[in-house]
Subunit: 233 residues, 2 copies
Amino acid sequence: MSTFDVIGFDADDTLWRSEDGFARSEKAFVELVAPYAPQGTDVFAALQATERRNLSVFGYGVKSFGLSMVEAAVTVTGGALPSTVTRELVNLTREQLIEPVELLPHVPEVLDAVGRAHRLVLITKGDLIHQNYKVTTSGLEHLFEEVDIVLEKDPATYARVLRRIGVKPEQFCMVGNSVRSDVLPLLSIGASAVHVPYHITWTHEQVDEHDQHFAELSSLAELPDWLAAQTNP
Amino acid sequence: MSTFDVIGFDADDTLWRSEDGFARSEKAFVELVAPYAPQGTDVFAALQATERRNLSVFGYGVKSFGLSMVEAAVTVTGGALPSTVTRELVNLTREQLIEPVELLPHVPEVLDAVGRAHRLVLITKGDLIHQNYKVTTSGLEHLFEEVDIVLEKDPATYARVLRRIGVKPEQFCMVGNSVRSDVLPLLSIGASAVHVPYHITWTHEQVDEHDQHFAELSSLAELPDWLAAQTNP
């Protein structure tokens, strides 16, 4: 029997694809904006820098990204941006918000298997309306005892969620694709975490180095066996 | 002794000014955009219609409003919008997000008085990062047992919050400026509500008519006495 009572799952790029949508919008941004920028301008780098500057005020999510696209486009074109392109950038943002959810392989059967022996919670950061849209249209909502859409995945936030669902850190294990958001904060509060990498990691989620040890699975499909192998010491 | 165990407070235009910020941005929008729109265009009506159309996908809050401002400006100017104006609209959005919180009269002393005899929770809808910024910089956060930033203030959401904080509907009273969001959904689940009107109501929050009866106070300052007068039947 697993040592954990509750398993927490990240959502974006753990249960369903998310970075792919941003990557498509970024590609479209470059194609739309580059023709109006001075030759030699790295419009993609400008977009990333704008996003980074806006992060503390705009927060995570597609709407913040959309506002940064508009702002970066105006900046790099030095006033030469046609408003038809501005409209396209708003349209890209809207399309990304209503894109159908594309589940990653094995997700429903893994959640079903893990849910038989554990309580499941979903802990995701980002935009309230967009995350809620994805959760409700994914067909997975009923598997989770609680869905928490949080502002920041830091140790204090996780501690608050754990208190609220009534579980001790040593009985909680988080599963996600981001070492920075889904693994390190859990280890720091005495909980466990499993890293399941996704092939794209948002640059703002990358950690340069860390000296922590934690489990890493190459696929979510390995999770039920991994959990079954964890036994009380 | 009051019949209520927990008092819930709305935030925007109940504890601090919010619509004033939108009103300022709307005024600036009209001044910035009207000169580029064909004569006789009602650019403010176009903005409101764009907001309304985007509400189900963008959700509430300043970032959604900012994207709608950009989109409406492109539309009403028929392609004649200078990108310098687009930049100004993004700047308005950012400024609105970092505007200092302006508390409404009597708020700290009323919360202090009501908090002596009740548990207090804050229940607000909108943008996670913006609402969190306002709560943390207001200096009021410590007075609340829980802060819930929700997607929609409907009966199901209130029922979930009440279950989570462990209070029965008949022991809960909500206080807020919106009949649609802070009063009617509570009455429908058997809880109580007090309406404290604000001088501006967002058009999307207005209700045409309702046949429910509930208390209405002209100022939050009247709340402690009103609560003290409610006794168990």
